[in-house]
Amino acid sequence: MVIEKKRPKSGAMDIDFNGTYSNGGGGGAGGHSSSYALPVQPAKFGLWLFISAIIMLFSALTSAYIVRHSAGNWLRFEMPEIFWFNTFVLLLSSLTIQLSYFQLRRDKVASFKVLFAISTFLGLLFLAGQVMGWNQLREMGIYVSTNPSSSFFYLLTGAHAVHLAGGVISLIYVFVKSLLGYYSSRNKLGVELCITYWHFLDILWLYLFVFIKVTT
């Protein structure tokens, strides 16, 4: 029963069939009984597919941005300084979450939880900082519909924030599960998925930040 509990959700076959059956494809809980499967856990692979879809979404948005930017009538405005602070917060959260992973790998579960909680908090702080940044822009008189440059600014940062909010929810979910004693060095799939997604959001934000900085 303990083993059952520790199995990651994605290998649903194991749960469905109570381990009575062997899964022919070698997916499941990371076991690869056959040489015909990819040497990667299915859930991790699925996450990378999801990330590639998000990359397509943002490449569509930013290529539209480039097209529109080159057409002129483009209002230049200075980003409020808080966005620099937010960027720092997000980078820091990426660092702490990676450290938390190192702790988990060494089975230092207590410090893992602390660092993971700090990362989650930093994620929430980033979101709050973004909202504050938007408010400051509004006070400067730069609204969504002021100019294509501001429309794109709100669209890109907003779309990123939505994806990050999803990330925060999954961090909270994993954190609650860690409080219930789910994770260890041998059972860390959920944590790994979160961390991959979180680093991706961090890199995505850096891309967007530099992109916007150069053009506004």
Binding site: N18, N23, Y36, A37, L38, P42, A53, I54, M56, R68
Partner: protein, 588 residues
């Protein structure tokens, strides 16, 4: 062994709800997609009938229409704005809800796990969510028919500025908002599906099932899923920007200096062409998201019923991958007359013509597959052959439209309507019908009626040709598409008689679909019981029960020893060798 099996069956007793409604079983989800798809097919067909009535009998009161449609047909005459709504909804429903969700959703879900020897999808819960998000998208889309301003009426391609300004026409108001919400849900659903199909194909193949032994169907569904994964997010980006334009007053797609009802529009500086780029970046791969599954189902059915191996399996797989890759870089051929830079247009001419190479290779491989085969004319086989008979004229006329100078003449005429109805609409529907007839015994454990199936085929095939072939002539004569009535000018009104003919053909072809509906639902309950392998096919799904149990296989998943198309092997006892039969090693 027997005790073992019994034990697992008892352990996994499912309630009605977990078995038929919120099921994570890929087979149930496939059937849910199929039946929802059939529902949408019927709706889309009724919409096309209404359009055909209007085109054949413009301005002639038909009191029955008022009874059915109420204010949309006051005095029995369809309102022009409702006609535009019909066009929009017919396109959206048929392309996305029937031929994307209905086709891919059904057969990817059903065939991928069964043909690769897996017990279910990689992420069964996401798979269930995929269907129910699609269901929600369906409900929203259906709801838009019943609101005061009517459903979206800006064309299924949703070109701004018409679609970006809520007050431009009634059909751009709430109906268009619901359309966008529904499509956003649809994109989420297709993303969840694609994640599953790709991961399952790569990770959950049974022992011995190398990529080179995958049936062509799995290859097709796999490539389709990759296309959907990469192109649907781009439409989502465009849809979000359009929602911003409509709700928050931004000007992504609305140009400066637009005047609406005598009032200048507050938006300025947007670029409507940008939407066309974003839309067609999805829109063209979408054509192949529709066509490739149909192609791959047809390949499987042709080989099985010709009792011959699929000709040049590896080349066919390569052609499918080539079509998928090229389809991402041809979208500009929809935009030759949009004011796009002609140099860019030239590039798109080349890429578009290039895609005809892998397509032609695939078609020829299929033709050689049936060449001198021992053909069995089951309804599935007839529809598979019908698919080729419809796809070929469609693809050949595509070469004309791909060439920019010719397209400038033919753009937005009935030539285009005829072309895409042959090449992706009816041919994909035929592929889907072929798939339903072929896999129905596996899905429901019963056979469909053979005679009704053949009658359905001939009614559909002849009907489709009579409907769409004359449209090529109308298009060459310059008759524009999407017009409400062709009474004003001689070059269009000369075809009134032909339009009546087409309308009659549409009703005849529609009547043939009623045969299918009856056959389908009647056979689910009353059809003859099907045995394991009624078509004597080689692939894995035919080696388990009909319908397969929950978990698909007995205690052990099958082991694969050979390729998918070992038909009529010289020296073999029967004319087919299932993939699960071990290869005998001769020892001398």
């Amino acid at each position: 062994m027997a005790i073992h099996t019994e034990h697992t069956e008892v352990a996994h007793k499912q309630s009605f709800i977990t078995k038929y409604i919120f099921s994570t079983d890929h087979k149930t989800i496939a059937r849910q997609y199929l039946i929802t798809g059939i529902f949408w097919g019927v709706v889309g067909m009724i919409l096309s009938w209404l359009m055909r009535l209007q085109l054949a009998y413009p301005n002639q009161p038909m009191p029955i229409l008022e009874k059915i449609l109420g204010k949309w047909a006051e005095g029995g005459i369809l309102k022009p704005e409702f006609y535009v709504a019909l066009i929009t909804m017919h396109g959206t429903i048929m392309v996305f809800f029937l031929l994307t969700a209905g086709l891919s959703g059904t057969f990817s879900n059903y065939l991928i796990p069964l043909q690769i020897g897996a017990r279910d999808m990689a992420f069964p819960v996401l798979n269930m969510l995929s269907y129910w998000v699609f269901f929600a998208a369906s409900v929203v889309m259906l709801a838009s028919f019943f609101i005061q301003t009517g459903p979206a009426a800006v064309g299924w391609t949703f070109y701004p500025p018409l679609s970006a300004l809520k007050n431009s026409i009634p059909g751009a108001d709430l109906g268009a908002t619901l359309w966008l919400i529904s499509m956003a849900l649809f994109i989420v659903s297709s993303l969840l599906g694609a994640l599953n199909y790709i991961t399952t194909t790569l990770n959950f193949r049974t022992k011995g099932m190398s990529m080179g032994r995958l049936p062509i169907t799995v290859w097709g569904m796999f490539v389709t899923a990759i296309l959907g994964l990469l192109s649907f997010p781009v439409l989502l980006a465009g849809a979000v920007m359009l929602i911003f334009d409509r709700e928050f007053g931004t000007s992504f797609f609305v140009p400066s200096g637009l005047v609406l009802g005598g009032q200048p529009v507050p938006h300025e500086g947007g670029n409507p062409i940008l939407w066309q780029h974003l839309f067609w970046f999805l829109g063209h791969p979408e054509v192949y998201i529709v066509a490739i599954p149909a192609f791959s189902l047809v390949g499987e059915i042709l080989a099985t019923n010709a009792r011959k191996p699929l000709f040049a399996y590896k080349v066919s797989v390569g052609a499918i991958i080539g079509i998928g890759a090229l389809s991402m870089i041809v979208w500009g051929h929809h935009m030759y007359v949009s004011g796009m830079n002609p140099v860019l247009g030239e590039v798109f001419v080349i890429t578009t013509l290039a895609i005809s190479f892998p397509t032609a290779i695939l078609v020829f491989n299929y033709l050689v597959t049936i060449w001198r085969g021992n053909l069995r004319f089951t309804p599935a086989m007839l529809f598979a052959l019908g698919f080729l008979g419809l796809f070929i004229p469609g693809a050949l006329t595509g070469a004309f439209l791909a060439t920019a100078p010719v397209d400038i003449q033919l753009h937005d005429t009935y030539f285009v309507v005829a072309h895409f109805h042959f090449t992706m609409a009816t041919s994909a529907a035929f592929g889907m019908f072929a798939g339903v007839y072929h896999w129905f015994p596996k899905m429901f454990g019963r056979m469909m009626n053979d005679k009704l199936g053949k009658l359905h085929f001939w009614g559909s095939f002849i009907g489709v040709y009579l409907i769409f072939f004359p449209m090529f002539f109308q298009g060459i004569a310059g008759v524009p598409r999407r017009y409400y009535a062709f009474t004003e000018y001689n070059f269009t009104s000369q075809f009134l008689g032909l339009n009546k003919f087409i309308t009659i053909a549409a009703f005849v072809a529609g009547a043939a679909q009623l045969l299918f509906l009856f056959n389908f639902f009647w056979s689910i309950f009353k059809g003859k019981k099907a045995d394991k392998n009624p078509w004597k096919a080689t692939t894995l799904e035919w080696q388990t029960d009909s319908p397969p149990p929950h978990g698909n296989w007995g205690p052990e998943t099958p082991v694969v020893y050979r390729g998918p198309y070992e038909y009529s092997v010289p020296g073999a006892e029967e004319d087919y060798i299932p993939q699960t039969v071990p290869v005998k090693v001769e020892t001398k």
